[in-house]
Amino acid sequence: MIYSQSVQALIEELGHLPGIGPKSAQRLAFHILRIPEPDARRLAAAIVDVKERTTWCTRCWNISDGPLCDFCLAPERDPTLLCVVEDPRDIVAVERTGGFSGRYHVLHGAIDPIGGIGPEQLRVKELLARLEPEGVTELIVCTNPNLEGEATAMYLARLIRPLGITVSRPASGLPVGGDLEYADEVTLGRALEGRRAMEA
């Protein structure tokens, strides 16, 4: 063993983190060795705390510190507008826009037949159970704009539209700051279909 047992154990544990190889794990372990003890204790406490306190929101399946997450508890959020996302991290992306004031529902994945993920493996039943009690009038399906995300959106639309609820999807188009020359055919095609008249 090159390092002492405790340092070696730390390197091994850090090496299990996503995107961290043996060299990065070693660098992080030596950084932790160098920082003051209170800082290291805070880091350790934060890891323990997040494992002990964090759970899933029982209504929307977002990450939460209690039975209901902050979005579900906030009285100012519009319960009739529901945004469906694949992953809790997508909520952060939508929130950053500052343009959405409704509630969320996290599916925890998208339909991926080859990977063996169908509607049964997603939080679809929980979504259906929310629609009537919460008086949802519009469902914005904010799944990723790839084939799996689109399939999930089509599946939800087929299921929910007959209930008289508007099912919408964010517009797809060209990224701001990009070059038209590099736009792919599908994106450009959709951007042209969804074009808007310019205000004078």
Partner: protein, 256 residues
């Protein structure tokens, strides 16, 4: 065969994709000249990526690749056909996934199989244009034949008794095809025209089959196609069991 460290061009269909790191993706491609390959697409998940939607599953591409030690790297792509109707219709999508899953199971890494590539491209084009719910099951039968595993349909696969001498009442791909009353095992045949449909698919009358109205024969032919393909590849095709059953078949009460 591509030489390591060399760039090469080819035509390909994207069979599947998996995330790699923060913004990359590994795609499995069924190519025309290099068989099934796995290639890294760098930065594809960023909105600014020039690959964009081009490397989505089912897309037919013209690609330029760099062969590395283990994985290839996709350097340029041009869309030949995006099969847009497949992307935008759930029924077509679920059939396309089943076809890609089967091709992924049958094609071997790096082994040329141009006929398989060509058949997949044609099947995706037919699915895109017709949307017939019988494209994927028919593709399975054709794929089995292409891979040298056509089932026996005109005589009992157990004792060899021809159809003219007695009823063929069951189907078991592991036994080689249809079975007579004495040898019966596997799935019992319940619809009278099922075998005729399979024969027509394998004898070059696919076009007429695709436009057949949905019937118990078609539903049974579809179920047998999945059974046979799963027996051939030796595992369950997950894409056929995710609950995305063709609603046309489901609504007609043909699928249990």
């Amino acid at each position: 065969m591509a030489v390591p460290g060399k760039s090469y061009g080819d035509y390909a269909v994207v069979l599947k994709a998996m995330r790699l790191g923060e913004a990359d993706r590994i795609v499995t491609l069924m190519t025309a000249e290099h068989g099934k390959i796995r290639a890294v697409v760098k930065g594809v998940r960023k909105t600014s990526s020039h690959f964009g939607a081009r490397t989505e599953i089912t897309t037919h591409l013209r690609v330029q690749c760099w062969r590395g030690r283990d994985l290839h790297t996709l350097t340029q792509v041009e869309v030949v056909d995006a099969f847009r109707a497949v992307r935008e219709d759930l029924d077509r999508f679920s059939q396309a996934m089943a076809m890609l899953d089967a091709v992924d199971q049958i094609a071997q890494d790096g082994q040329e199989f141009p006929a398989l590539y060509a058949m997949l491209v044609r099947a995706l084009a037919v699915l895109d244009s017709t949307g017939s719910p019988l494209v994927a099951p028919s593709f399975f039968w054709k794929l089995l034949a292409l891979d040298g595993s056509s089932p026996m349909l005109s005589a009992c696969a157990g004792c060899g008794k021809p159809e003219s001498e007695g009823l063929l009442v069951a189907f078991d791909f592991a036994q080689g095809g249809v079975l007579c009353e004495a040898c019966q095992r596997g799935r019992k045949l319940s619809a009278p025209g099922t075998l005729d449909l399979i024969r027509r698919i394998l004898q070059g009358q696919l076009r007429t089959v695709l436009f057949e109205p949905l019937s118990p024969d078609a539903a049974e032919m579809s179920r047998l196609a999945v059974d046979a393909m799963e027996a051939h590849v030796g595992r369950s095709l997950r894409s056929c069991h995710t609950g995305l059953v063709q609603p046309a078949l489901r609504d007609s009460g043909q699928v249990p």
